[in-house]
Symmetry: C2
Subunit: 416 residues, 2 copies
């Protein structure tokens, strides 16, 4: 098996070639990939069945197996997702600005691929295909390190993708799967600065923490979402109930789901009993402050400080009654992971104060936090949602997978 | 003395306040700082004299003492630099785009400060004032960790700046100097993820490497410049000599200076003897390939592979005769630090191939690499030159000290 450094060298060479590949050629390869995945559904499902059987034998949880499992309709969805990427605008080569300087130098700022991306993720085989397709379209080579439990599925998927790349005149090393899924090799990958330009971890808090702790390659922290919604005194009650219900219950396992509900003291007695049935319908466990417990009575557990820091990713909701907008903003500043934060209000000044003073990737007025998503934002597919401030925040689409270069045209200028 | 965590907490609070400070208020504070530094020149020079004396007693090199020393004219220049920052456009609040989605959500992408910056640098007191002023104008709080040898100078400068901040209604903790200059505390600072959003090391290769190795806070790698110029066969010889001379000799200690000269074989015998006198005038030590040695005769040392990787920052130049454009591009790909790369050519196709295939922060046609600089690029002052692809590449001005946030205005939208 090739060493990690050898794989890095290959990816770097492939990236240098892919950097200048025309959009048409990349799209042709993507179309061939989409077609090949469909045509080879049987082989993909066979490989996936090996992974699923092994996971069952190992006694994995049902939710884990659900994420690991591919079906005919999931392969169709993956293939359709790749076709959608073909439709998206290629960010590479976009001229972002520039100037002609007094000395006559023409400075042109142009978008270029990041180079070689490293993606470290868990055992969802659909991520393998999505991520590889997004990297290809944005002109980046990629080294994928997926969870060991999905290895058979990943080998099959990436094998098909590499074949399609080669048949379309692209270097198959644009897309490399790390078949050695040891932790040691993953750690080595995180420090492969000579060959990997940017590392993107995709997965749970533990994975992301491990990458941030160990990596020397520049990272983008993704996906941790301890999201809040503040129900202001002037909120429309029906709207507040509908938004809370949607933000908590429509898909609690994802990063843009609601984790802590903050309620203005002046509306708490009216609002909390009104929202309770919507939460009860999904058997949401409530962990509340003293006032919440007083208003809603038994059935509400006491919330700890730790609860307010926690991304439950489950049918659990922390609740706190606050004195007003300022206390809500201060609470969010202290506990938030700066992913998605919302206010429900009828008061213009409160809305503006909230959006200006809450620092997060996405700040909402009178809408569900669940909209923080590349597709919902109109970017097309996303590779993740950045919660760090470096590079970009929020959903990362193709544009966010590029960097810039300055091209300077002169006619003999020297610096005096 | 306050602990690092306490300092981090203070900076975080100050950043939250500064985030929404109007441009006028920030400019007023900057004007007060510029004025105060001038008015207190005597005190600054007195503090600086303590540092310079200690450095002399410690037997520091002359070049080090030169960088450490402040003079009346240097203080004037620092003050004038701060006045220039007042004139620059405030990037905070700039609306970069957005869309109204089919469901009626209005998504607005807006520039926001990074938050708290950490800057780790060496013993140049002018960096203290420059960096603090740039951070202030871009709405960021900053924790500065300068070299221990400049501590007295830095305490004096930052003390004056904090006073001016407070007098202008801003939190003085927008600008914090780390007075504990132990390595241990510097390392702790590199891992202060809860309080520092972005870390920028400014200094030599050793400092930058240490930060990249140890930091868990997201970093911007700056300033390493192993820059190349390729003299193509069709180059105008006089232009090639002038550009080489300027790129190597005008200021060899800086990151945009030329380190390796690549010469097309077809022009080497004509060009090398022509450029030699310009290099001899500065006693530039030449380390060449076999052909260079043959053409220029004795006095050229043999270049090692290591030489081609080295940023000399001195009157030393590596030289290599290459077969043509492709070999030049391949050499640069292998050895370059991706800072600034140039071609001198009369051939349009060669120029375009070079700029498209060389991946660096700045790629030049027929101009000196010495222009890679925020001022020369028309950005105004710069905090450094990024050589990593994440966030941005090239000179980093005020705009590059910001991130983005999405503000989403709804009227009750939920995700279906």
């Amino acid at each position: 098996m090739a060493t990690l450094v050898e794989l890095g060298q290959r990816a770097k060479l492939a990236a240098a070639q892919l950097m200048t590949a025309p959009t048409g050629q990349k799209n042709k390869a993507l179309a061939a990939i989409a077609e090949s995945l469909l045509a080879n559904t049987a082989a993909i499902l066979k490989a996936n069945a090996l992974d699923v059987e092994a996971a069952r034998r190992a006694g994995s949880k049902e939710a884990f197996i659900e994420r690991l499992t591919l079906t005919e309709s999931r392969v169709k969805a993956i293939s359709a997702g790749i076709r959608e990427i073909i439709q998206l605008e290629d960010p590479v080569g976009k001229i972002e600005g520039g100037s002609t300087r007094p000395n006559g130098l023409k400075i042109v700022k142009v978008r270029v691929p990041l180079g070689v991306l490293g993606i470290i993720y868990e055992s969802r085989p659909n991520v393998t295909a999505d991520a590889a397709a997004l990297c290809l379209k944005s002109g980046n080579a990629v080294i994928l390190r997926g969870g060991p439990e999905a290895l058979n599925s990943n080998i099959c998927l990436i094998g098909l993708m590499r074949e399609a790349l080669e048949q379309n005149g692209l270097n198959k090393d644009c897309c490399i799967l790390l078949e050695d899924t040891s932790l040691e090799t993953a750690r080595e990958m995180m420090r492969l600065n000579d060959y990997i330009d940017v590392l993107i971890p995709r997965g749970g808090a533990g994975l992301i923490k491990a990458v941030i702790e160990n990596a020397t390659v520049p990272c983008i922290e993704t996906g941790l979402g301890n999201c809040h919604i503040f129900i202001d005194k002037s909120a429309d009650l029906a709207q507040a109930v509908s938004i809370t219900d949607n933000a908590k219950n429509s898909r609690p396992s994802v990063c843009n789901a609601l984790e802590t509900l903050l309620v203005h003291r002046g509306i708490a007695e009216a609002f909390l009993p009104k929202v309770k049935p919507a939460l009860d319908a999904f058997k949401v466990e409530l962990r509340g402050c003293h006032l919440t417990m007083e208003i809603l009575g038994p059935g509400v557990l006491p919330a700890s400080d730790e609860d307010y820091f926690t991304e439950f990713n489950d049918y659990i909701l922390a609740v706190k009654v606050v004195g007003g907008l300022d206390e809500a903003i201060a609470h969010i500043r202290h506990y938030s992971s700066k992913h998605s934060e919302g206010i429900v209000t009828g008061d213009y000044a409160a809305a503006e104060k909230f959006v200006n003073n809450v620092d997060a990737a996405a700040v909402y007025v009178n809408a569900s936090t669940r909209f923080t998503d590349g597709g919902e934002f109109g970017m097309g597919a996303e590779i993740g949602i950045s919660t760090q401030k470096l590079h970009t925040r929020g959903p990362m689409g193709l544009q966010e997978l590029t960097s810039n270069k300055y091209i300077v045209y002169g006619n003999g200028q020297i610096r005096v």
